[in-house]
Amino acid sequence: MQRTEDKEPIRLSVTDWNQTRSVDLDEVDPRATIGELVAEAVQALGLPRGTVFQALCDERELGLAGTVAELGLRAGDAIRLIPEVRAG
């Protein structure tokens, strides 16, 4: 059974890899996937949309298909975006 609090929107922040810029996401639906939040943050931070980003909370990698509720994220958690890129 889904817990009541899992339905309440929460506030999360997403930072770039070097933690110099961040975006606060208010009223995040706990059913939102990490992939959706990453896309939102990438757009807000003005980062390339063609880049794949890994999402880390503390040192834990968050699967992009998982939802905020499934992954147990709590209000105030910070997600760090790390680009997965290849120099040519």
Binding site: S22, L25, A32, E36, L37, T51, I82, E84, V85
Partner: protein, 318 residues
Amino acid sequence: MSAASPELVIELRTEDSAAVLGCAPAVLGPIREDAAFRGVLAGVFPNDGRPPQFEIELRLAGAARDRVESIALRAADAPEARYPWTAFEEQALCLVERLIAERRLEPGTRSRWHLRPGAEAPAARRRPRARLRGEPYPLRDAALAAGRAPGAFEVAIAEPVLEAGRKQLLSGGSIESAALLLGRLYRDPRSGAARLVVLDQVELAPGRGGASLTHFALDARSFADAARVARARSGLDLAGWLHTHPACADCARKPECARDTVFFSTDDYQVHASAFARAYQVALVVGKLGDRPASAPGFRLYAWDAGRISELDFQVED
């Protein structure tokens, strides 16, 4: 006029414009960052990390008014910053590369691109409200040499950093390598000119995708390990990155070989735009210059320039 980022689309067409070959959303981050940094250097915006609230106006062209000719960014009490559509050229080249990689475009196909307004796709669920914040630019006040134009940006690199880059290239053989660049950013309050001095480097480990003659993969482990080392070197800020472009086997055998491996590829652009997006962060490429033997590597420096990437001369500091 809009305070939000309008949806803009890079559209690639056949040379006669008859057919659309592919599209990609245009990212306004680099021009927003350029306007913010220039505004801070000029003293128009406070250096408090809060992104300026720009109003965006598109100048449209074409019979159907469906092509963006230029984009103006305006903020209260600040001069207008205007960017031509060509500010998105690197992004268009990335689209071409992606289409080629996906076998949707034959290499060598003659094509042209333009920028057009796009329609925002409806969200599956209510989107969260996004509020941007950041660290102030790590500017230190300093009296720079006279004659600098307002907003001018120059770079100096310490010789030990260049020597480390040469060694990294030569010891790596035919495998690319990379490093974070650390340094200090100065601003002359009188002229608003800025100077980045690169003083140190921290080698990056290849990520899960490994490294080869033609690529170097970066991921969470690469960035986290290097950032940990960089943080220990107090007083220095992230200035950009360095990577090597090794010479080919022929170059090593033939000193007269005129091949030049020092360039900035679309993959390099993707790395820079994704991880080194602040307007003062630079990319240094070390490799074989066309007029030198492979045993005497050379450098080219690439820097943000009005939302694009341009080659920039640099000074060498002892």
